[in-house]
Symmetry: C2
Subunit: 363 residues, 2 copies
């Protein structure tokens, strides 16, 4: 968690969509720029599954954030014009209350006692941050990946708060393929002996299961095309005699990703938020994605997809764009030809930034 994080207390108890409740729960967030006296320049960012609220550096925490090139003076989220808020998801382990947080009854970590979290609950947590800052109408809500689902759920459950929507590389509901991959990732984590049915010690090595799950994530977050261009069949200069040790550069790239990530994210937060993505279905609200969109009050929407995304293929962003249009919103739909797949919003800034800047200029 970043030293720049601030906290909003949620109502206690806070009832959850799928039953159960949370007491004394908090949401961590960070801000950049200044809220205008009319409170009409706030842009709220909800994140993918694992990032913290530290989307960009700031005086209290000068380390680069996960969306650093997008936030700051003269960047798409221009801190001279806008008040930017980034919210850490409910259920995460980066400051907001999650399975690793102490249970109010006994002070011990919730672990599997944590109630099932839904994307709708994550959205309610983000809405609570906006309201705590005295904002009743955001200029826009921005969500990439899982955040795109959270943004939809915010627009659905808090219509006056979300007049404008910027969502990317997400879906109105997960496909069978995405559910299959996430299900497998969760099983890989749970199969790790160090996971100990969720009763792992923080010092215990759960890095193997988390590392392998991360590798599967990375395999689907990028595109085969990008890897062909970056790695092809290049070998490592030094090899082990073990025929199963990493020998190709792509293997070593995945090793590095696994090492960086495992230990940095709580396995149970991963399981809970991963499952929440499976469950979310905009069509649960009225029988179709379009009916769900009609319950929102979105005026303008920017929907961005990437042609090489295999996890949330562009057909899924197209589906949302069409449904929002049918529901009366003015929609700008952009299918970008990045080769970086699902993760393009993090790395292909030259393609994403102008599209987002142009949309914000029109608000």
């Amino acid at each position: 968690m970043s030293g720049a994080a601030q906290f909003v207390a949620l109502p206690s108890p806070m009832p959850l969509l799928r039953g159960g409740e949370l007491r004394e729960a908090v949401i961590a967030y960070e801000t950049w720029g200044t809220l205008s006296p009319a409170r009409d320049n706030a842009i709220l960012i909800v994140t993918g599954m694992s990032p913290s609220a530290h989307a960009a550096s700031n005086p209290k925490d000068p380390t680069p954030g996960w969306w650093e090139p997008m936030i700051g003076r003269d960047r798409s989220f221009d801190t001279e014009r806008y008040f930017i808020i980034c919210v850490n998801s409910l259920g995460s382990c980066k400051g907001s209350t999650g399975p690793a947080s102490p249970h109010p009854d006994d002070g011990l970590p919730y672990r599997l006692r944590f109630p099932s979290i839904s994307i709708e609950d994550v959205a309610d947590g983000a809405a609570a941050v906006a309201r705590a800052l005295g904002i009743e109408r955001l200029l826009a809500v921005v969500g990439p990946s899982m955040g795109g689902m959270t943004a939809q759920a915010m627009a659905l459950r808090h219509p006056p708060l979300v007049p404008n929507l910027i969502i990317m590389s997400c879906a109105a509901r997960s496909s069978a393929f995405a559910i299959a991959l996430r299900s497998l990732q969760r099983q890989i984590v749970r199969a790790d002996p160090g996971f100990a049915n969720g009763n792992y010690d923080h010092a215990a090595d759960v890095s193997s299961g988390m590392g392998l799950a991360r590798k599967l994530g990375v395999a689907t977050y990028r595109s085969p095309l990008e890897w062909r261009e970056r790695f092809g069949r290049e070998r490592l200069s030094e090899r082990d005699a073990d025929p199963f040790a990493s020998e190709f550069q792509i293997e070593s790239y995945l090793d590095a990703h696994a090492r960086r990530w495992s230990g940095g994210f709580d396995p149970l937060s991963y399981l809970y938020l991963s499952r929440a993505m499976d469950w979310f279905d905009l069509a649960d609200y009225g029988g179709s994605v379009e009916a769900g969109c009609r319950r929102m009050a979105v005026e303008k929407a920017l929907v961005i997809g990437v042609s090489t995304d295999i996890l949330f293929p562009v057909e899924q962003q197209e589906e949302i764009a069409e449904a929002l249009t049918e529901a009366g919103a003015e929609v700008d739909y952009q299918a970008l030809p990045s080769i970086q797949g699902h993760d393009a919003f993090l790395v292909d800034i030259p393609r994403f930034a102008p599209v987002i800047s142009r949309f914000l200029d029109r608000l």
Copy 2:
């Protein structure tokens, strides 16, 4: 292993491509139909990574084989006209010598003492079967998936034996993406405590790692499109209270696949053959795929790809088809619009069978 299996002894010692040798090694195979007096009607099938030589039922083993609808009277591989041979790969656990076979020195299983196996060695094993049957020129060699690589290696190393080639859903060399997925599958198997660094007991439960690796396999052997049509977001009628238990039909489908497979295939055979697929590269022979094809003596080739294959995308079959054409072969290239992805050759018989029959009629 099928009761219909026959065996050919390989030269002892048999030197291997990557160093090392095997002594007293055997190759299991099955046959259907009758070899003509001129020995000119033999079609040899090399398999994907896991199938046995039991490609179809026969009097000695009436259980259905893995390619049952393709082999028999009036089927593509018409047993009234052709003598069909199916070979179990060297390194497998379905009758041919592999890591689970006894080491000639001590009678104990080889395990990790087994030397590194290459696709070229698998090809040499298959060629030995043809020669043992007195065949110096096959009518055609047929290879789906890994078998497509083996077929290429046979044509490369035994040109007179392979005048005609039928390969499908394969590549001249694996992409970084395919290597990444296989690398991850191997790590999942090795991370299973039951694997015990390869010293697992046959009775030990290695089904968890093998089951999870299989799920990842199945996830890439089929297509997101097929799953959307078959499963969508359908739920199981009965659910566990555990939020991480299978709840969507796609999860239960993967569970069933994992259960059927794990226990049925030796984990070390899986590791060795999986790595062999990473290594194979036709461009190692002369610097390019085309140069590799020029070392063959292929006259006619049928190359089939499937538009929804994410493991071996059609661009890879197109690459082989073009290289074979440049090398002087008469090539029939077919990109089929099956929705079953990589596994379509096993299930979309209505699309595959006519294309193969037509090609064979022209030989």
